[in-house]
């Protein structure tokens, strides 16, 4: 099967500044593909180029096998978009937002009204269908934006930081909805700077920083490839004794902010050592994408 999105050597330059620098990737159908990267990595710019909302400076892009930008209209007709910043229409009620958006896709009003109840149900907003959008909470707005992105029954849904700014509960609700969508065979493309989100949802992801792709793979592959299995994080650092002890046992150490990260395949002796150090506050956890990111870039994901 040919990929849903195929990008080859994409570049985006703003005057002197390169926002996206030689980025290539293929996204297969029915999967969740992620762009993980910190602020300014070029995630939104890449998404906008896929939609034809930002012209690319250089490179080749095809979506559903159609060339972008030549077939922009036809391509966008088959995509649903959840933008980074909510742009619901404040002049309309919840259900009207869906109706009006359907018109932009040329969906007849009767057909739109037929689709809306199921979408409101999916977004758990049936009760609020008559509410003005500016009376909705952040989480509700996000769910409405997702419902809106589904009005055209898209084959591909692109979500730009779908859960940024939401509380953990609202975030979990969104994750469940996205898993539901994926189970129905919709291809998902999402950007995030939450490694937990990427780990949970993405089958495959690319790690981006400063406009470049640093590596790609499944979360498991990336972790296996770049970091040791387990991490001990010392918050607030230590006086040097632990660092020396760990180093002597062949552990890899990284300093970041006022935390010391110690990566190892066998942490038992280290834990033993720390048990006798009540003054040191430590955290022991399996390695994650955040550690991969730190390894690849030398700086933390959240900045």
């Amino acid at each position: 099967m040919s990929p849903v999105v195929s990008a080859s050597r994409l570049h985006k330059r703003y005057r002197g500044f390169t926002a996206v620098d030689d980025v290539s990737f293929d996204i297969d159908g029915g999967r969740c593909f992620g762009f993980l990267g910190p602020n300014g990595a070029g995630k939104t710019t890449t998404l906008r180029m896929i939609l034809g909302m930002t012209p690319m400076t250089d490179g080749r892009l095809s979506v559903f096998g159609l060339p972008m930008p030549a077939e922009g209209r036809a391509i966008r007709a088959r995509i649903g978009v959840v933008p980074q910043a909510d742009n619901l229409d404040p002049d309309f009620r919840v259900d009207e937002n869906l109706e009006v958006h359907a018109r932009y896709f040329g969906i007849p009003a009767a057909e739109a009204r037929r689709r809306i109840p199921a979408l409101l149900d999916f977004a758990a907003l049936s009760e609020r269908r008559g509410a003005k959008t500016d009376t909705l909470s952040g989480g509700m707005k996000r769910r409405l934006t997702i419902a809106r992105a589904l009005i055209n029954q898209p084959e591909l849904v692109m979500l730009d930081e779908p859960t940024t700014g939401l509380d953990p509960q609202a975030r979990h609700v969104i994750w469940a909805k996205l898993a539901e969508l994926k189970a129905k065979g919709t291809t998902l493309l999402l950007t995030t700077h939450y490694m937990e989100e990427a780990e949970r949802l993405c089958d495959e992801l690319v790690i981006m920083d400063r406009g470049r792709i640093l590596d790609r793979g499944s979360p498991r592959e990336l972790i296996g490839r770049h970091v040791e299995a387990e991490v001990i994080e010392i918050r607030g650092g230590d006086d040097g004794t632990f660092a020396a002890f760990a180093e002597a046992r062949g552990c890899r150490l990284e300093c970041q902010g006022n935390s010391l990260y110690c990566y190892s395949r066998d942490v038992a002796p280290l834990i033993e050592h720390l048990r006798q150090r009540p003054d040191v506050f430590y955290l022991h956890r399996p390695a994650g994408l955040e550690d991969v990111f730190l390894r690849l870039t030398g700086h933390e994901l959240r900045d």
């Binding site: 036809a74 933008p83 229409d89 002049d91 896709f105």
Partner: protein
Amino acid sequence: MRGDWTIPRPGRGALAVWQRNLRVWRKLLAPAAVMNFGEPTLYLLGLGFGLGAFIGTMSDLSYQTFLASGIIASSAMMTASFEATYSVFTRMGVQRTYDAMLATPLTLDDILAGEVLWCGTKALFSAAAILIVALLIGAVAGPQALFALPVAFLAGLAFAGPALIMSAVATNYDFFNYYFVLAVTPMLILSGVFYPVETLPEVMQSVVHLLPLTHAVALTRPLVAGLPLETPLLHLAVLGAYAGLGFYAAVVLIRRRLLV
């Protein structure tokens, strides 16, 4: 110059944008009606009867008829100018409505064509309201006045073009003050709405004949007064040129602003 200078090719999507605006307008019908009927009523009763008592006739028309026909044209200008500046700027910027639209099959050409059509429609609505008020005070000569409505629509398109250019280059709402003070208000005062253009000095007259409102008034007045039109094709051509060239320039500039 850099930028995408391709001739705009709007499609049916423009109608979806037009419908969206109509739908918002319908929600705000009450305040819109107060505005559309209240203002001209004040003008026609206040100025029309007040000044009319002194003036009697102007250019061989009753002053009410003279003024009503002028205000029909100038309200088309006002309505379209406000819509294509403040309202368009809001949808394009703060409200991010265009961002949402551009992620659908709509193109910028569709969106802006829809906006311009909407400006024309709104101009027609306000002209219709004034025509009704004018009819009630006996300032309308006959059914020929109905043709003032399509003229108001065209005038709406003509004023939408330049106003849209202002939206393309504006950095904030205050910027529009320049446009209204330096372009819209002078037209309102100089283009024959309140008194005939012929009373102006010759030099001024030749400048005033370049302005779209002058031509909108020149078409509207005989239609409302039941008189034969003079050089209608010229007037239509000027309004059409403002609409077409204004739209084209605005599309090029807004492409440069949004599609980056």
